[in-house]
C-alpha cells in the first residue's frame, strides 16, 4: 500500500477505519497520547495504550507496529497486542528489558497509512538505596581509601557524596559503586554521611560511615625505670596513633598528658605511684575507648654500693660518711640503725651524711640504708665500730673481810663487750655487762670464807683477756651476833644451841658461864653447842662466849632461864550427863609439879602427875548424880593454886519405849499417835521425820501427837523422836506406812485400734480403783475419769496411736501402787496397692523409667528401697558398672510421707551387657512389710554396634580406631572394605579374625568397668599411595550376628 493509489473503503475484520476518497486529503496515521507516558528505570514491564487515528494494519501483510526509539540505545518495534474497534488506539506490551536505562523514548506507530507522529515516553531514575558499606568504618588519621557502596538503583552517572560533597565515583554495576574517600575526611572522629545521588539529583538516604580513633600502641617508654620518689616525674611514651585526645593511664588512672607528635606523648607519673618500688602499667587510651597495649614502667628503690669510711673505733668523734650507690634523689635520707642522719644530696649516685659521736660509743655494727620514701628503702650496708682494747683499771671493792658473805664486784676498765666474763682465781663469776667500761660480777660467799687474795681478770667472748688485778680477803674478828634459842624455862630438857657470828674457826668452843660446851664447827659464821638440862634447873642468866683456838674471845651474849606459872589451860572431858558413871579427868596446863592435886568443888581428887603440863584425876560417880557444874583447881605442894576450870553435869535425855499405832496404810486419814517412854518433860515435842507434830504432854512417861493425813500419802517409813525443851533428844523409833492392796485390771475396751486413728476414750475395768487412781499409757499418765472402784475411763490422744505396736496400760493408785499391765494393741492399717513395673526388654545404652505408684495415700509414712542386681547373659559374662540409677549407685532409698501419693521417679541406665536387670523393692509402712513384685528387664544378646570409625593415615600405614559395644561381650571377626579414590583400582576387602584380641579383653578385669564397650585399634601396612584409599567401611561380627557397616569419617 502506498499513498498514491486509489483509495477505497475496506472493512477490516476487527477495525473500521475512515478511508479518504479521491480528492480528499490522504488519511494519516496519528497518535495523540501514551498511557502511561513514563516509568521508573528498572521497573516491570507493562501494557501501554496509544490513542490515535487510522491505526490500521496493512491489508497485504501485517504492518501495524509500535516503534520504540530510545535516546540512547537501539530502536525496536513492538507488535501491538490489540487494536481499538475504530482503529483509534492500540495496546502494546512494553517489556521490562526496554525500561532499564533512564532517558527519553520516541514512540511512533506504523500503520496502513504510514508512520505516525512521535510522542515521548520518559524513563525516570529510581531513588538509589544504600544497603552496605565496605569497609564498615574508618580510623582517624587514616589514608584515603576506596569505599565500596552496595545497594540498588545505581547507574553510570550516579555519584557518591560524603557529607554532601561529591567524590570520585566509579560505576561498577547497578548494585555497586566505588568511591575514593580522601584522607581529609578522616581528620576527626564521628560519622561521615554517605549518599548516592542520581544525575537528576535524586539522592539516597544517608548511610553513616563511622570514623573511629585507632587503637594506640606503645613501642617504648623513656626512661623505662625511675627512682622511687616523693615528687612526680615526667616520662616519654613512644608509639603510634597518638592524638591530642589521647590520655595516658598509670596503673589505670589518667594522668597529665601532652602530645608531642603522633608518635610521642609525655606524661607525668604522680608521686603517689612512685612511693614504692614495683611495676607500673602504662596505657594510652584514645576516645572510643581504644586502649593500647600495656607497657611496664619500673619504679626502683635506692641502692647502696659502698660506704666511706666503712668503720670506726668506738668512741670516735663525729665524722662525714660518704654513701655511694644509685637511684638517689634530692630528699634521700641516710639512716643509721633506722635513725635518720643529716643527709646531703650530691648526685643520684652519691650522698653524704653526718655520723655523730653519740652513735659510736659502742663497738659493734650499724646498718646503713638510704630511704627515698617510707616504702622505698635501699639494701643494707654495714658500718663496723671496732672495740677499744680490753683492760681492767680498777675493782670496787678491791678487798673484803673473810666470811663477810657474797658481794657484787664492779670491774672498771675498757674494751668490755656483752658476753665479757670476770674470772676469780680461774673461776668464772656470774657477770653482767654494764657498758664498754664497766662490768659487775657476783662473788659468792664461798670464795670469801678464808683470808687471802684473789686474781681478777676479764675474758671477752673472743677469748682475749685483760690484765690481772688482785682482790684482798682480810681476816674477820670473832663476834657473836645471835644465839638460838636465847632463853629457856627453868627445868627444861637439854637442847642444842646455835651460835651465829663471824670469825669462827674450826676448833672454836662455846662457853656457858665460862664452862665449855660440846661444840660443833659449822662455818666461820655458825657454831652449835649442846646445853645439858643440869644447866637449866634454876631461873637466871648465863654468859655465852666463843673462844677461837688462837684464844681470841668473842663478845659475851646472855642466855635467860625463866621461871614457869601454874595454870590450867584445858580439861577433858568438859561435861557429863547427870547420873553417869565415874571417869578420869585430864587437866592440861603449866607449872605442874609432882605432888600437885586436882580439886572438884574443893574436894581433892585422886591425882596422878604426868608432866609439868598434864595431870589426871579420878572423878567418882557420886559427884555426877545431879545436873549442875563443878569447879576444877590445881594446887602444887607449895600451895600455889592455879586458875579454875568449869565442868558441866547435863540433865539425862528422854527415851521412847513404844509408839501406838506403829503403822498405817498409805493414804489413810490422820490419827493421834501415843508415845510411851521416860524422861519426857513438859514442853517436849514429838518429831515426825524432823517435823514437829502438835504434841500433848501427858506425863514424864507419855506424850500424844496429832499425825495429819498428808504425812501418809506415800508408802515408806517415818522416824519418831521426842525432843525435850532442853534440846535433849530421845532414841528414834520407826513408823511404817504400808502400800496396801494394788488395783487390778480385768479388761480394756476397746482392746485394740488401728494406727494413726483419732483420739478415743479407753474404758478400764477392774477393781481397787480409788478417787485418785490414774491410768498410765506406757508409763505416762493420761487424763483419767474415775467411774467407780471397778471402772475408769481415759482419753487416749491420737499421738499415742500414731504408729503400730502395743501399749502397756496400768492403773496407779496413790502411793505409786500400780496394777499389773494390760496390753493394748495398735494394728497396722491396710497397705495401699503398689504399682511397680518396667519394660520386660530393652536395648543396651538405654535409660528407661520404672513405673512406681501407690493406689491411694497411706496414713503412715512409707519407707522404701529399690536395689538393682544384674545377672549377665554374655559369652564372657561380667557385671556392668554402668547399670545404675540416675541418682547414682544401685540402691535407691526413699520415704513417702504419710497421706501422700508423691513417689520418687525411678530412672535407670541399662548398660551394654546382655543379661537381666532386676529391680527389687522393699516397702514398709508402720514397720510392716508391703509386698512388691520385682521388675526384671532383659537386655538381649545382639550383634555388635559400631559408634564411630576414625581413620588415621600416615606414610605406609593406615590406622583405624573403632569404638562400639557388643552385648555378648564377644567380637570374632572384623571386615574392612576399602573404597578407592576416583578411578583407582579396587582394593580387596580385609577380613581379620579378632577373637584372639577381643576374648582376652572381655575376660580381663580391665574391661569390666566398660561393660561391653571397646575401642578397637587396627593398623594396616600400606603398599603404594595411601592417599588413594578413600573411606573404609567396617563390619564386626559376633555369635549374635553382624554389625551394621559403618563408614570411617
Amino acid at each position: 500500500m502506498n499513498i498514491g493509489r486509489t483509495f477505497f473503503s475496506i472493512l477490516a475484520a476487527a477495525a473500521l477505519a475512515t478511508v479518504p476518497v479521491a480528492g480528499q486529503t490522504a488519511p494519516k496515521t496519528t497518535i495523540s497520547s501514551l498511557n502511561p507516558n513514563s516509568a521508573i528505570a528498572g521497573s516491570a514491564g507493562f501494557t501501554m495504550t496509544i490513542d490515535g487515528a487510522n491505526l490500521l494494519d496493512c491489508a497485504a501483510a501485517p504492518c501495524l507496529a509500535v516503534n520504540w526509539a530510545p535516546s540512547s540505545g537501539s530502536p525496536t518495534t513492538i507488535r501491538p497486542s490489540s487494536v481499538g474497534p475504530n482503529a483509534n488506539f492500540v495496546t502494546a506490551a512494553i517489556p521490562a528489558s526496554l525500561l532499564t536505562t533512564p532517558g527519553s523514548v520516541s514512540v511512533t506507530v506504523t500503520a496502513e497509512f504510514g508512520v505516525s507522529n512521535a510522542l515521548t515516553f520518559t524513563i525516570n531514575y529510581p531513588t538509589p538505596v544504600i544497603s552496605t558499606l565496605s569497609p564498615i568504618s574508618g580510623v582517624v588519621g587514616g589514608s584515603s581509601f576506596t569505599l565500596t557502596v552496595t545497594g540498588s538503583g545505581f547507574f553510570s552517572g550516579s555519584i557518591v557524596e560524603v557529607n554532601g560533597s561529591p567524590v570520585a565515583t566509579t560505576y561498577v554495576s547497578g548494585q555497586t559503586l566505588t568511591a575514593t574517600i580522601a584522607a581529609g575526611f578522616l581528620n576527626a572522629a564521628g560519622n561521615l554521611g554517605i549518599t548516592v545521588v542520581q544525575p537528576n539529583g535524586l539522592s539516597s538516604a544517608v548511610a553513616n560511615f563511622p570514623v573511629n580513633y585507632p587503637a594506640p600502641t606503645i613501642t617504648s617508654l623513656s626512661p623505662t625505670q625511675v627512682a622511687a620518689s616523693t615528687t612526680p616525674v615526667n616520662i616519654a611514651i613512644n608509639g603510634t596513633n597518638f592524638f591530642t585526645a589521647s590520655t595516658v593511664q598509670i596503673n589505670g588512672a589518667n594522668t597529665s598528658t601532652t602530645l608531642v607528635t603522633s608518635q610521642q606523648l609525655t606524661a607525668t607519673v604522680p608521686a603517689s605511684a612512685l612511693a614504692a618500688p614495683g611495676q607500673l602499667s602504662v596505657n594510652v587510651t584514645n576516645p572510643g575507648p581504644q586502649v593500647s597495649n600495656t607497657a611496664s614502667l619500673t619504679v626502683v628503690a635506692p641502692s647502696i654500693s659502698g660506704l666511706s669510711p666503712s668503720s670506726a673505733v668506738a668512741g670516735s668523734v663525729t665524722f662525714t660518711l660518704a654513701v655511694s650507690g644509685s637511684n638517689f634523689i634530692s630528699g634521700s635520707v641516710v639512716t643509721w640503725n633506722g635513725t635518720s642522719l643529716t643527709t646531703f644530696f650530691t648526685s643520684p649516685t652519691q650522698l653524704t651524711a653526718l655520723v655523730s659521736t653519740s652513735l659510736l660509743t659502742t663497738a659493734g655494727t650499724a646498718t646503713v640504708r638510704v630511704q627515698n620514701t617510707s616504702q622505698a628503702v635501699s639494701n643494707a650496708a654495714t658500718f663496723t665500730i671496732t672495740p677499744k682494747p680490753l683492760t681492767i683499771t680498777s675493782l670496787n671493792p678491791s678487798s673484803a673481810t673473810a666470811g663477810s658473805g657474797a658481794l657484787t664486784l664492779t670491774v672498771n676498765g675498757t674494751g668490755f663487750v656483752s658476753g665479757s666474763v670476770v674470772d676469780w682465781n680461774g673461776s668464772t663469776l656470774t657477770t653482767s655487762f654494764g657498758s664498754v667500761n664497766q662490768l659487775t660480777a657476783t662473788v659468792p660467799a664461798s670464795l670469801l670464807s678464808q683470808p687471802g687474795s684473789a686474781t681478777v681478770l676479764v675474758t671477752n667472748p673472743d677469748l682475749t683477756q685483760s690484765n690481772a688485778v688482785t682482790f684482798t680477803i682480810n681476816p674477820a674478828p670473832v663476834t657473836i651476833t645471835s644465839i638460838n634459842p636465847a632463853s629457856a624455862v627453868a627445868g627444861s630438857a637439854a637442847f642444842t644451841m646455835t651460835v651465829n657470828g663471824t670469825g669462827f674457826l674450826s676448833g672454836a668452843v662455846v662457853n656457858w658461864n665460862a664452862i665449855p660446851l660440846a661444840t660443833t664447827f659449822g662455818s666461820a659464821t655458825q657454831l652449835t653447842a649442846q646445853v645439858p638440862a643440869t644447866l637449866l634447873a634454876q631461873a637466871g642468866g648465863a654468859a655465852i662466849q666463843v673462844l677461837d683456838p688462837n684464844n681470841t674471845q668473842s663478845n659475851v651474849v646472855t642466855f635467860t632461864i625463866t621461871a614457869t606459872p601454874l595454870t590450867i589451860t584445858s580439861i577433858s572431858p568438859t561435861s557429863a550427863i547427870a547420873g553417869a558413871a565415874g571417869f578420869t579427868l585430864t587437866v592440861n596446863g603449866t607449872g605442874f609439879v609432882s605432888g600437885a592435886v586436882v580439886s572438884w568443888n574443893s574436894t581433892a581428887l585422886a591425882t596422878t602427875f604426868g608432866s609439868a603440863t598434864q595431870l589426871t584425876a579420878t572423878v567418882p560417880a557420886s559427884l555426877l548424880a545431879q545436873p549442875g557444874s563443878a569447879t576444877v583447881l590445881v594446887t602444887n605442894p607449895n600451895q600455889a593454886q592455879s586458875n579454875t576450870a568449869t565442868f558441866t553435869i547435863t540433865p539425862a535425855a528422854p527415851t521412847i519405849t513404844s509408839i501406838n499405832p506403829a503403822s498405817a496404810i498409805v493414804g489413810a486419814a490422820g490419827f493421834t499417835l501415843t508415845v510411851n517412854g521416860t524422861g519426857f518433860l513438859s514442853g517436849a515435842v514429838v518429831n515426825w521425820n524432823s517435823t514437829a507434830l502438835a504434841t500433848t504432854f501427858g506425863s514424864e512417861t507419855q506424850l500424844t501427837a496429832s499425825v495429819p493425813a498428808s504425812l501418809l500419802a506415800q508408802a515408806g517409813s517415818a522416824t519418831i523422836q521426842v525432843v525435850n525443851p532442853n534440846n535433849t533428844q530421845s532414841n528414834p523409833v520407826g513408823f511404817l506406812i504400808s502400800a496396801g492392796t494394788p488395783p487390778t485390771i480385768t479388761s480394756l475396751s476397746p482392746a485394740s485400734t488401728v494406727a494413726a486413728g483419732p483420739t478415743f476414750t479407753l474404758t478400764v475395768n477392774g477393781s481397787g480403783f480409788v478417787s485418785a487412781s490414774v491410768v498410765d499409757w506406757n508409763g505416762n499418765a493420761v487424763p483419767t475419769t474415775v467411774v467407780n472402784t471397778a471402772q475408769l475411763t481415759a482419753s487416749i490422744d491420737a499421738s499415742l496411736i500414731a504408729n503400730p505396736g502395743s501399749a502397756a496400760v496400768t492403773v496407779v493408785n496413790p502411793g505409786n501402787v500400780a496394777s499389773s499391765a494390760a496390753t493394748f494393741t495398735i494394728t497396722v492399717p491396710n497397705p495401699p496397692t503398689v504399682t511397680f513395673s518396667g519394660p520386660a526388654t530393652t536395648g543396651p545404652m538405654q535409660q528407661p523409667s520404672i513405673t512406681f505408684a501407690i493406689g491411694a495415700a497411706y496414713v503412715l509414712a512409707l519407707q522404701g528401697q529399690v536395689t538393682l542386681t544384674f545377672t549377665p547373659d554374655a559369652v564372657n559374662p561380667s557385671d556392668d558398672p554402668a547399670i545404675q540409677f540416675s541418682a547414682g549407685g544401685r540402691t535407691l532409698s526413699f520415704t513417702i510421707p504419710a497421706n501422700s501419693t508423691q513417689v520418687p521417679p525411678i530412672l535407670i541406665q541399662t548398660g551394654t551387657v546382655s543379661g537381666a536387670i532386676r529391680a527389687h523393692m522393699t516397702l514398709t509402712g508402720g514397720g510392716a512389710s508391703i509386698p512388691v513384685s520385682d521388675v526384671v528387664i532383659q537386655i538381649s544378646r545382639a550383634a555388635p554396634v559400631i559408634r564411630s570409625v576414625t581413620a588415621t593415615r600416615s606414610s605406609g600405614s593406615l590406622q583405624l580406631s573403632i569404638v562400639g559395644y557388643s552385648t555378648p561381650r564377644e567380637v570374632t571377626q572384623a571386615v574392612f572394605h576399602f573404597n578407592p579414590v576416583g578411578t583407582a583400582a579396587q582394593i580387596p576387602d580385609a577380613t581379620v579374625s579378632v577373637g584372639s584380641l577381643f576374648t582376652p579383653w572381655f575376660q580381663s578385669s580391665d574391661s569390666t568397668q566398660y561393660g561391653s564397650q571397646f575401642t578397637y585399634t587396627q593398623s594396616f601396612t600400606i603398599q603404594g599411595d595411601s592417599t588413594q584409599i578413600g573411606t573404609i567401611i567396617v563390619t564386626l561380627t559376633s555369635s549374635a550376628g553382624n554389625s551394621q557397616p559403618v563408614t570411617s569419617n
Binding site: 573511629n212 575507648p289 535409660q847 551394654t912 579378632v994 561393660g1011 575401642t1015 578397637y1016
Partner: protein
C-alpha cells in the same frame, strides 16, 4: 592380594591391634578436690573414683580436649597445670597475679584467659607444653560489668561488658595489640570461638539470637546465624563442635537446647532437657556436650554423635562412692 596400583597388605606379623575402653573425658569434682574420668559412651557411662594427682585442688577447669586442666591448689592457692592422660601429674605455673575467679580455655585449649578479682585479666599461652602467663590487662574501664568472655586459639579475647543503657559492648582484647571496640549486642550472655579461628559466636539473650563475629585487625564483621524463628529463646550458653559444623545453644526460658548446622545442610532442631543449660562444655567426640557442672545430681549430656541425637544422663556420684573406679 591385588597389587596393581597399590595394595593393602595385612601381614600377620606386621598388623598391630590394640584394645581398650572408651572414655568421655574428665570432670573436676569440687567436693573431692580431684578429677574423675567419665568411663564409657553416652547412655552407658559412669564416673570413676577420684584420681590421685598428688594434691587436691580448690577449683579446676578441664581443657576442651580433656588432656589437661588448670587448677588452684587447695593448700597453697597456686595455679597448677594438671596433665590428665594416664596418672595425673600436676606442675605449678608461675606468673599469676592472683587466684583467678574464672578460667576459660580456647577451643583447642592452647590458650586460656584468667579472670581476676578486680577488673583485670591475664592470658595463659603455650598450653599445655610451654605455659606462660601474660602481664595483667586492665579491663575495668570497658564497662559496668563483665557479662561474657572467651578466648581464641590465637590468644584474642572477645569480651562483653554492660553498657550504661543495659546493652552489651563487645571488645577485642589482645596481650600486645591493645583493646578495640568491635560491636554491640542487646544483652550478650555467652561467647564461644570456633576452633583455630577468629570467628566467635555470641549469644544475645535479649534479642533472642546468635551472632557471628569475624574479628579482623580493622574491626569486625557481624552476621546473624540464628533467631527466635530457629528456636533461640533467652540463650545463655553456646558451644561449637570439634568439626565446627554444629552449634549447640542452651535456652534458659524452657531449659531447651537448639542444635544449629553452620553448613546450612540441616535445619535447626530443638531438644528438651530438664537440666542445667547455662553452661555447655565439650566432651570426647565431635558433638558431645556436657550440660552444666558436676553436682550431687545426674550429669546430663547431649549426644550429637549418635545417629539419633539425644540427651542422656550420667548417674550421679553417690557416697560412699558406688562408681566403678578405673584410671
Amino acid at each position: 592380594m591385588n597389587r596393581t596400583l597399590f595394595g593393602v597388605l595385612w601381614l600377620a606379623g606386621a598388623v598391630a591391634q590394640a584394645q581398650q575402653g572408651p572414655t568421655l573425658g574428665v570432670v573436676f569434682d569440687g567436693g573431692a578436690g580431684a578429677f574423675r574420668r567419665i568411663i564409657g559412651l553416652p547412655g552407658a557411662a559412669h564416673f570413676s573414683a577420684p584420681l590421685d594427682a598428688g594434691t587436691t585442688f580448690s577449683s579446676a577447669v578441664v581443657s576442651p580436649g580433656h588432656e589437661f586442666a588448670l587448677g588452684i591448689g587447695s593448700s597453697d592457692s597456686q595455679l597448677y597445670l594438671i596433665r590428665l592422660k594416664g596418672a595425673p601429674v600436676s606442675t605449678p605455673v608461675g606468673g599469676a597475679a592472683w587466684v583467678p575467679s574464672k578460667i576459660i580455655f580456647s577451643p583447642a585449649g592452647r590458650t586460656a584467659v584468667l579472670v581476676g578479682p578486680s577488673g583485670t585479666i591475664q592470658l595463659a599461652i603455650g598450653l599445655p607444653d610451654s605455659p606462660s602467663i601474660s602481664v595483667e590487662i586492665d579491663i575495668s574501664s570497658l564497662g559496668a560489668g563483665l557479662q561474657a568472655i572467651a578466648i581464641s586459639d590465637g590468644g584474642t579475647v572477645l569480651a562483653a561488658f554492660a553498657a550504661a543503657d543495659g546493652s552489651s559492648l563487645l571488645y577485642a582484647i589482645g596481650a600486645t595489640s591493645g583493646t578495640q571496640s568491635v560491636g554491640s549486642a542487646a544483652l550478650a550472655s555467652a561467647i564461644s570461638f570456633l576452633r583455630n579461628s577468629n570467628s566467635a559466636l555470641v549469644a544475645d539473650r535479649a534479642a533472642h539470637q546468635i551472632l557471628q563475629y569475624q574479628l579482623a585487625d580493622s574491626g569486625a564483621a557481624v552476621s546473624v546465624i540464628a533467631t527466635q524463628t530457629d528456636g533461640i529463646s533467652d540463650p545463655v550458653a553456646v558451644n561449637v563442635s570439634g568439626s565446627a559444623q554444629w552449634v549447640l545453644v542452651g535456652n534458659a526460658v524452657d531449659q531447651s537446647l537448639v542444635r544449629i548446622d553452620l553448613t546450612g545442610l540441616n535445619a535447626p532442631s530443638l531438644f528438651s532437657c530438664a537440666c542445667d543449660v547455662s553452661a555447655i562444655g565439650r566432651l570426647a567426640g565431635n558433638a558431645v556436650f556436657q550440660l552444666g557442672g558436676l553436682s550431687d545430681q545426674p550429669l546430663w549430656v547431649f549426644d550429637g554423635d549418635d545417629v539419633n541425637p539425644r540427651v542422656v544422663f550420667i548417674p550421679a556420684i553417690t557416697a560412699p562412692d558406688a562408681s566403678g573406679g578405673g584410671q
